[in-house]
């Protein structure tokens, strides 16, 4: 099997993740609840994972690293935690439904306004210009994906950060496709950044894990309240991190696996992972361009390109993905939960076939896939 659907979830996971989860399942109690060994075991996994993530993203305080169920959960906390009735947000034209749907719901429920700063693919200059022009008196934040989950386009988040800092806005970054695959150093950011990511994509960890990093002391309303194992006699939700956003039993087993994965990724380095994935993306592009009737979406100079590539073929995207699946090549077809991205890029009616790589994919696998696609006849 050749797995090119790492933008959906990474496969395989980092070495040792499954074993660590199994070990945690057999030894961990409920972290932050008791003082006995199994409870401390769970708490230890969680704290070490906070530390490992702090190192990865250069966060000063591990308590600013909050565990969530996934990136969507983290983004909902961020978006709904910040935006109130009458506020305004600016979003890019490439946002996933994990951003668009919460904003849409807030728009309907609380009259939160939003502007979509839509710019052509890989045009960071125009994106920044449109974002800044969209700022109003009631703008509270800019929300931007770091990397488009459809086209792999890397957004200029450092420049958007400068815009946010200049206008006193909060910056919510969806790092779903970049965390672990592209270096992110939060020391370089000047605005109030909130970074959201899943544990199960380029961090190479298990599903059911996600991370929300509040880089500074940004005030966020809670999405849920409940037991935190701290200050139990107080009916108010704790106002300190991470407890404020970690109600209920945390997924310590999953976090144990995530710790193993993050240590693995830290060991290689996101810069080297990015270099590897770009090499594969370039090779795939070169191959896809040889297939008659195919349009490939990529950055011609490969500067703003990640290891995610989309293409439109002569046949429907679902048929092509089906053909590839019959040959044991895993891709994703359709709108990728990002109708906005497709609308902005002009692929809403066709959808695309998406190829997304990880550190475990090889050039040989890309060549094999291209050979099989070259043999595609009328499907």
């Amino acid at each position: 099997m050749i797995y090119f659907d790492n933008a959906a979830t990474s496969l395989p996971k980092a070495p040792g993740v499954a074993e660590e989860i199994l070990k945690a399942l057999k030894t961990c109690g409920n972290g932050s609840r008791s003082g006995h060994k199994p409870a401390i075991c769970a708490s230890e996994y969680m704290y070490k994972c906070r530390e490992a993530l702090s190192r990865m993203f250069h966060v000063q305080n591990p308590e600013n690293v909050i565990f969530t169920q996934n990136a969507t959960h983290a983004l909902n906390i961020a978006v709904k935690g910040i935006l109130k009735r009458g506020d305004h947000a600016v979003i890019s034209g490439y946002e996933h439904n994990a951003v668009l749907r919460p904003i849409y719901a807030l728009n309907k429920k609380d009259a939160v306004e939003f502007t979509i700063a839509a710019a052509p693919l890989f045009d960071g200059d125009l994106l920044c210009e449109k974002m800044e022009k969209s700022i109003r008196k009631n703008t509270k934040c800019i929300i931007c994906t770091h990397v488009s989950n459809v086209f792999g386009a890397i957004m200029p988040i450092e420049r958007i950060d400068s815009i946010c800092a200049k206008h006193g806005l909060i910056f919510i970054i969806d790092a779903s496709q970049s965390a672990g695959a592209i270096p992110i150093d939060l020391r370089n950011f000047k605005s109030d950044v909130i970074l959201c990511m899943p544990g199960h994509k380029s961090l190479l960890g298990p599903q059911g894990t996600g991370v929300l990093i509040v880089a500074k002391d940004t005030e966020l309303q809670t999405l849920i309240e409940g037991g935190t194992g701290s200050l139990s006699q107080d009916p108010n939700q704790p106002d300190f991190l991470p407890d404020r956003f970690e109600s209920g039993t945390q997924n310590a087993h999953g976090i144990a696996g995530l710790l193993k994965a993050v240590e693995y990724v830290n060991g290689i380095g996101a810069d080297r992972i990015h270099e590897h994935e770009i090499k594969l993306a370039r090779r795939m592009c070169d191959g896809l361009k040889q297939i008659p009737g195919t349009k490939v979406y990529f950055d011609p100079v490969f500067k703003a390109q990640s290891g995610v590539i989309s293409a439109v073929f002569g046949a429907s995207s679902e048929k092509v993905a089906g053909y590839l699946s019959d040959h044991d090549i895993c891709t994703r077809a359709g709108l990728h939960c990002s109708p906005l991205a497709h609308r902005t890029a002009g692929t809403e009616h066709t959808g695309t076939v998406r190829f997304s790589f990880s550190i475990f994919n090889t050039e040989k696998q890309v060549d094999t896939a291209i050979d099989i696609m070259m043999k595609m006849k009328e499907i």
Binding site: G35, I40, Y47, R50, G229, L231, P242, D243
Partner: protein, 70 residues
């Protein structure tokens, strides 16, 4: 004899232990009884008494808030 440095949550107790261990002070996390802390569901970092002053100074230096010291 030991001193107990009381924290609001386990995350802060864990952070304290790391700070103290890096400075060569052995510290352990315990669940302290409510009768002595006055608050329920807190975590204590247990430190030998002769290290207490130094431990507190280190934690203050690192801006790590504790609830009280017993």
């Amino acid at each position: 004899m030991n001193c107990l440095i009381i924290f609001r949550s386990i995350t802060y107790a864990q952070k304290a232990v790391k700070i103290l261990e890096r400075a060569g002070i052995t510290a352990y996390i315990k669940r302290p009884p409510r009768e002595i802390t006055g608050i329920s569901c807190s975590y204590a970092v247990k430190v030998p008494s002769y290290w207490c002053d130094k431990a507190l100074a280190l934690l203050r230096e690192r801006h790590l808030d504790y609830v009280k010291v017993i």
